[in-house]
Symmetry: C2
Subunit: 204 residues, 2 copies
């Protein structure tokens, strides 16, 4: 399969979320026009994105919602069980663990780490905060593949290094700093300031 651009990959979960909402409301089919309108996107863009992966729509009818959900989940590998670890049990770490309940897929935060003595041993939902010294052992025993960083910027690189050493394959970095990792590790930055900064562009 030809290499798909990151922009496309980043739109697929948005489509998936929207389709899941339709599914909850028992909507069975959606045209690319309605799809685009509801998401504020160009329907041609949506069709083009999905066409990279197959012919999922029917001309004059649109997309079958449950079928397209299944297909996008397969494309995103959300049909696998994927365990996620989080380092940094502050407000953001807590908030992200609470999102676990929204992750209807098999992707879950299954371990939380922090090195502050007052946080180690505390509980977030059903997870006990572990010390960083346990990271490698837990990542390996739980087959954790993705690491989330929610520590201050000054600590982010150390945590990234620890994740890489422990064997995670991808990192979601919420710290407002750039981390360096080996090329085979995929990193997404989920910095809140970049979201806000790109919104500012659209102000009059």
């Amino acid at each position: 399969m030809k290499k798909i651009s990151e922009a496309v990959v980043r739109r697929l979960p948005i489509y998936l979320r929207f389709l899941n909402e339709l599914h909850v409301r028992n909507i069975q089919t959606i045209s690319s026009r309605d799809f685009g309108e509801r998401l504020g996107m160009n329907p041609a863009q949506i069709r083009k994105d999905l066409n990279y992966f197959g012919e999922f729509g029917k001309k004059g009818i649109g997309y079958d919602v449950p079928y397209l959900i299944e297909k996008i989940q397969q494309i995103l590998k959300l049909d696998q069980t994927i365990h996620v670890a989080l380092v940094g049990a502050g407000n953001l770490g807590h908030a992200l663990c609470n999102y676990n309940i929204y992750l209807k897929s098999n992707m879950k935060i299954t371990a939380v780490f922090d090195d502050f003595p007052e946080k180690v041993g505390s509980q977030i939902n059903n997870l006990i905060v572990q010390p960083m010294s346990e990271l490698t052992k837990t990542v390996q025993s739980q087959a954790i593949r993705i690491g989330i960083i929610t520590v201050p910027a000054s600590e982010a690189q150390n945590v990234a290094d620890a994740f890489v050493k422990a064997g995670v394959e991808a990192i979601l970095n919420f710290a407002p700093s750039i981390i360096k990792v080996p090329q085979e590790i995929k990193v997404h930055h989920a910095d809140f300031t970049t979201e806000l900064h790109s919104l500012a562009y659209y102000l009059d």
Copy 2:
């Protein structure tokens, strides 16, 4: 000026953050090659993105860091003062207010709202949590232009409606639900699950 795609606009803050890091370390110029390598992006993409807005680089030398910072800030309108309001004083709301200190630009969260009686009147950093009934008055008196939603999914549409009514121009929605707003209001979804889901694509 020709319409710039959202993908380009979303990359500019990433460039800006990187340039600010270089600036802190007193690095004066950067080639597009190093730029791309450090960000894990194609240098041609970076050059193309920046060329939409002007000729900022010099052949054989690269980009002047402070100059490019200034230009990107202008493009993103970060040279203006932009006030932001946040609704939802939970863990995520707290975490975002803490990011305020990282926002070196003139963009700041200046008001926080929540309708839980036990939260109203509490303090997050230097901000007092206000009841929702104060939203319109505060948005107008502080000239707030961007609203952030960090309430549960079931409340997100109500908050969006309140923001629109109060007169904000753009919304950053962290709730895992799609909100409907008039066309002239720009919405970004900053749902953590979509970040995680797009990362899964890159797992082997």
